[in-house]
Symmetry: C2
Subunit: 283 residues, 2 copies
């Protein structure tokens, strides 16, 4: 789209230059341009895609940023450290509007339908569901750090460990409602639940308090990042931990996380659920 | 959202019933409802998310269908056989408007940046790039079947093998422009290109003709589905073929496909690029 816009601007400049070159030829130049110039694709934007922006948002940026967000969710982007500056308004609108909630709800409903089917399958083959397990990430999966990110540009600012730690230590991250519903359902179906988080072991107490206050009362294991795991990528650390869970005899049937590094690697779950998160990327 | 709407409808029915029960109490009922009824969340949709629809599209469906499409792209959905009926208008608008093109362009640009970096890495370590390979799917990746799907509800109709075969046999599928650009760049960088398609071997000649006519002039191997592969899932068939490519000494550094079954399984590429496709799902 940017290319088309550049093309359009280039064409207009060329026309303007030509017209200025000879004032006398102006009329014929103008008459000719509709015939001579290729029809710029940028003008073919269908009107139904136009959104009423808060203060007239740039439609081109809106389109580009929606593509950026889609590419992030489909794991198509190279590792990124912050939301592209021109996409900050788009990301803010997405997170504070109904779309983020809608996306979260739909993923939770899909996970719930799968959990019920998987539990029924286990029951049908007479397998003890004692070994069926579900892995949940914590941040932006069970708990939301949106109040923190609202104060830090919704991912536009570079991640600040010290500031974020202060927020974590408050223990005030709210539950993501659809995740809480899913979590309770998965527990009720008999799944063992493993909470596998990138938070450090030093934050265990505050994380436990935060989770319980928000309605996550029981789990089978809360796995936090030990000092030895600090330098590993999340993909490596979480894969190792999932392998340990499997080695203990559990079958990981479901895995919910907002990062692809929660879901990919080895010892992958039978099915994974990628919750939306356009604010940050963890490799 | 549907839940909220149901809640809203339920509340309104309850109110209507109560009001009808006694005509005399009507005024006081109406005065009381603003106090008594919980505030339905559906009313909190921020205005900036409202899109000017072609003939006033249902905003709730728009939100729901955008979530459905996002979930499809993030591989969160259970296998599906057709676009949900109420999402057909959303999918049609997406495909015929600028968003599909924008999404395709962005994925191609990401792939291109990665291809250049990967080629430079190979050159830096003195590795012969003769073994660097890129796998491309064909349908909805290099070639577009949009003209066919435009005549068949853009994924709303159940897939009809016979009708689709007729279309394939015409050999008139246009190139996806951003994929053609990427393809040429990847070739120029020295990657070997493997075209790995679910099309049957019987369609080899017409596929070759179609690809060449659309600008894909050279490749290292075009792999089509043999009779023996017919009953395999695409994930299994394509994984097997990628394994064979690796066994021949190639390193698959990139893989472009519009289906997750083009990308997942084993012998996975170092990096994968999921092109958008809300029209159909292949397991």
């Amino acid at each position: 789209m940017a290319r088309h816009l550049l093309l359009l601007v280039g064409l207009l400049l060329a026309v303007a230059g030509a017209a200025a070159a000879s004032e006398a030829e102006r009329a014929s130049e103008e008459a000719a341009q509709h015939v001579l110039l290729p029809r710029p694709l940028v003008l073919e934007l269908p009107t139904e895609e136009r959104c009423v922006g808060e203060g007239g948002a740039d439609e081109d940026a809106e389109l580009r940023c929606a593509s950026w967000r889609m590419a992030a969710e489909a794991n198509n982007l190279a590792p990124w450290t912050a939301v592209p500056e021109d996409c900050a308004p788009h990301v803010r609108r997405y997170l504070t509007g109904p779309a983020y909630r809608s996306d979260l709800d739909l993923v939770a409903r899909e996970a719930s339908a799968y959990a019920r089917a998987a539990a029924a399958d286990s029951a049908a083959v007479g397998a003890t569901s004692d070994s069926d397990a579900w892995v949940f990430d914590v941040d932006e999966t069970l708990l939301s750090n949106l109040p923190y990110y609202a104060e830090h540009g919704y991912g536009l600012e570079l991640f600040d460990h010290r500031e974020f730690d202060k927020w974590v230590e408050k223990g005030e991250a709210p539950a993501i409602p659809s995740s809480l519903t899913l979590y309770r359902e998965v527990r009720d179906l008999g799944f063992k639940t493993f909470l596998l988080t990138g938070r450090s072991e030093g934050h265990e107490a505050v994380t436990v308090d935060n989770l319980k206050r928000e309605g996550f009362h029981e789990w089978d294991k809360l796995i936090l990042r030990a000092t030895a795991d600090r330098k590993k990528t999340a993909t490596a650390y979480k894969s190792e931990k999932r392998k340990e869970i499997e080695a203990e005899g559990y079958k990981i049937l479901g895995n919910s996380g907002d990062q692809w590094s929660d879901l990919l690697g080895y010892s992958m779950s039978a099915r994974s659920f990628k919750l939306p998160n356009p604010m940050y990327y963890i490799p």
